[in-house]
């Protein structure tokens, strides 16, 4: 439905963090159209022959191998995803890209990524692409304990990783909310991906940043970094994950309200203007 299904051959099964499975598919026909922020629909019959279109964020794009790595999202019922039981070499249907790429302004040179264990998969491809483009990337990661964190080796060396853990087993003890003040004034743009807690923290930081008096001693407003005409991305974008659905913006299963009307995550998302949208719940 929508895009034509493409056959994807499973090349590898990996893990972003304990229990967070990734699948790497050879799908050369898809690669050229994929950008950071996109997801794929992975279609496979379940027990009873039922086929669902599961949303799997693109976590890495390998142009040389013609492959794409997607991350399986945790199921609400805690069940094991049947997709994790695929064998290397199996071929399944992939549909995509789903959604729009994350907008990065041309003038952006310092990018702040704010993630938890759930959101990491949505921005990993962006971190890789941004550093390749010469953008300084800092990633604030939040986890309950050090064992829940994704390995640093999954990111390019140039990415600065700042960690906050609830139990203090590594990095800052607490949440990323405590660290944000230091980074929001540094960043030209920020992306938050994850649960309600870090989204709320990032949104509050963005509001505070907006209300800072930027008037200089001379009485004139401080000059912002020059934006090019095509720059239209908001300072803070929130990436909202969604599980399943039609993928064509028809069913209403992934809709959030925004200042500019309804945003269908499978069409206009998954990145939305964090300050202009009513984002609540556990999505």
């Amino acid at each position: 439905m929508g895009s034509t299904p493409v056959a994807g051959e499973l090349l590898a099964i990996g893990e972003l963090a304990p229990g967070r499975i990734t699948l790497e598919f050879r799908a050369p026909a898809l690669i050229a159209s994929l950008r950071p922020g996109h997801a794929l629909h992975v279609v496979r019959p379940e027990s009873g022959g039922y086929r669902l279109r599961r949303v799997a964020p693109v976590s890495r794009i390998d142009l040389l191998r013609g492959s794409v790595e997607v991350a399986l999202q945790p199921r609400a019922d805690g069940g094991q995803d049947a997709l994790a039981g695929l064998r290397i070499g199996e071929i399944i249907e992939l549909i995509g890209p789903i959604g729009q790429p994350i907008l990065i302004n041309k003038a952006t040179m310092r990018l702040l990524l704010i993630v938890d264990g759930e959101g990491f998969a949505w921005v990993r491809a962006l971190a890789i692409a941004a550093t390749s483009a010469g953008i300084s990337v800092t990633m604030l990661q939040q986890a309950e304990t050090s064992g829940d964190l994704p390995p640093a080796s999954l990111l390019p060396d140039m990415v600065e990783i700042v960690v906050a853990t609830g139990d203090g087993s590594i990095g800052h003890r607490g949440g990323v909310a405590d660290l944000l003040a230091e980074y929001v004034s540094w960043a030209d743009q920020a992306i938050v991906a994850g649960g309600a807690e870090i989204r709320a923290a990032a949104t509050s930081a963005a509001y505070r940043r907006r209300t800072v008096d930027r008037t200089t001693a001379s009485g004139k407003p401080a000059r912002a970094r020059t934006a090019s005409a095509g720059d239209r991305a908001p300072w803070l974008q929130a990436l909202l994950s969604h599980e399943i659905g039609c993928g064509i913006g028809a069913c209403g299963g992934c809709t959030v309200a925004s200042r500019d009307g309804q945003v269908r995550l499978c069409r206009e998302g998954p990145a939305v203007d964090a300050l202009g949208s009513q984002i609540t719940g556990g999505a």
Binding site: Y50, R75, I244, C251, G252, T255, G281
Partner: protein, 344 residues
């Protein structure tokens, strides 16, 4: 070299009856089977194929044509519309559950006028019949909604109207209309008084007093009963320690609801003989045949279309073959074939 044994070939015994059936089958070409059905009598609804796209999964219209081939469909039921805009609630609205999925879109829509403005053109040009699914929380609201729709229905090519009895009712404290046969019949009566178009009433397998509702809704003016609505479900999110859906209670789709849906079709057909659009978890041509066997005169396809857009075409081909195999020429010959003498 030992002599080769002759292979024994089992020859099936044929009775006179099976021989006659085989001879008859040879004469029925599946392509000649007529899939068209006429549902109801007073305000008859004629469908070129007994295949219905359920209200919801494919949206209001503009998106549907690019998603599936509507030439394989008899009736496209537009996602539910209401007099005024309805907001669908917070995310998550859709989660996977064992054996299917659960959704809580709460019949979100921008209101009847905007839907008709934006999607009406696609209804006019659709190669199948189009029905609007009407969502109203009160009798008065439904009357106003039908009046609003009727003003433009002919111009927009709207063939029939579906009254959604699985929508919430104000007088029942937000419970569904279908939990009270009295309230549901009151709503149907109002709808009948407001339009001369074929009326479909949609219920789920969880409807209370389904036997009474099925038989009395015909007297109240319904032409077709759609037993395809989604029953309620709930799933805790074990990781987040809250409900999996932001709304808490959701509506179920997928194979997990199919046996209950088939039971409801059988009960409704057995108690009323009403023309029934049967649905709920139908995901294959074989499932569609099961719905006919339980008493349906047409089948409703929903979320299965997301993963298999060619399903309507496959169902149509399967129905033709099944009818031809019985030596019949009308798809209605399949209706109730599994009920036999044991159905109530």
């Amino acid at each position: 070299m030992p002599p080769r044994k002759r292979a024994k070939v089992a020859v099936p015994r044929t009775t006179g009856t099976t021989q006659a059936a085989e001879q008859l089958n040879e004469r029925i070409n599946p392509l000649t089977v007529d899939l068209a059905v006429t549902l109801g009598t007073e305000h008859a609804l004629r469908l070129e194929r007994p295949i219905v796209v359920a209200s919801g999964p494919l949206g209001f219209g503009n998106e549907a044509g690019g998603a599936i081939d509507l030439r394989d469909v008899g009736l496209f039921v537009v996602r539910g519309i209401s007099l005024r805009p309805r907001y669908g609630g917070q995310m998550p609205r859709l989660v996977e559950v064992p054996g299917g999925l659960m959704h809580a879109v709460s019949r979100e829509n921008p209101g009847a006028d905007e839907v008709m403005d934006r999607h009406g053109a696609s209804w006019r040009s659709a190669p199948c019949a189009v029905a609007l699914s009407l969502v109203a929380t009160s009798v008065k609201e439904l009357a106003q909604l039908i009046a609003r729709v009727e003003r433009r229905a002919d111009e927009l090519g709207i063939v029939a109207l579906e009254v959604d009895l699985t929508a919430p009712c104000d007088d029942l404290d937000g419970s569904r209309w279908e939990v009270s046969a009295d309230e549901a019949l009151r709503l149907i009566d109002t709808a009948r008084g407001a339009t001369d178009r074929p009326l479909i009433a949609k219920v789920s397998s969880a409807a209370n007093e389904l036997r009474r509702l099925a038989s009395e809704s015909l007297d109240a003016g319904i032409d077709v009963l759609s037993v395809s609505g989604s029953p309620h479900g709930f799933l805790p999110d074990r990781a987040r320690r809250g409900p999996a859906l932001a709304a808490g209670i959701g509506e179920l789709s997928g194979p997990l609801v199919r046996p209950a849906a088939l039971a409801a079709i059988a009960v409704a057909f057995g108690s009323s003989g009403a023309p029934i659009i049967g649905g709920g978890g139908l995901g294959s041509p074989a499932d569609a045949l099961d719905a006919f066997a339980a008493g349906a005169s047409a089948v409703s396809l929903g979320t299965a279309l997301w993963a298999d857009p060619r399903l309507p075409g496959a169902v149509g081909a399967s129905l033709r073959r099944a009818v031809a195999a019985r030596g019949e020429t009308s798809v209605l010959a399949l209706r109730g074939s599994a009920l036999g003498s044991r159905h109530e």
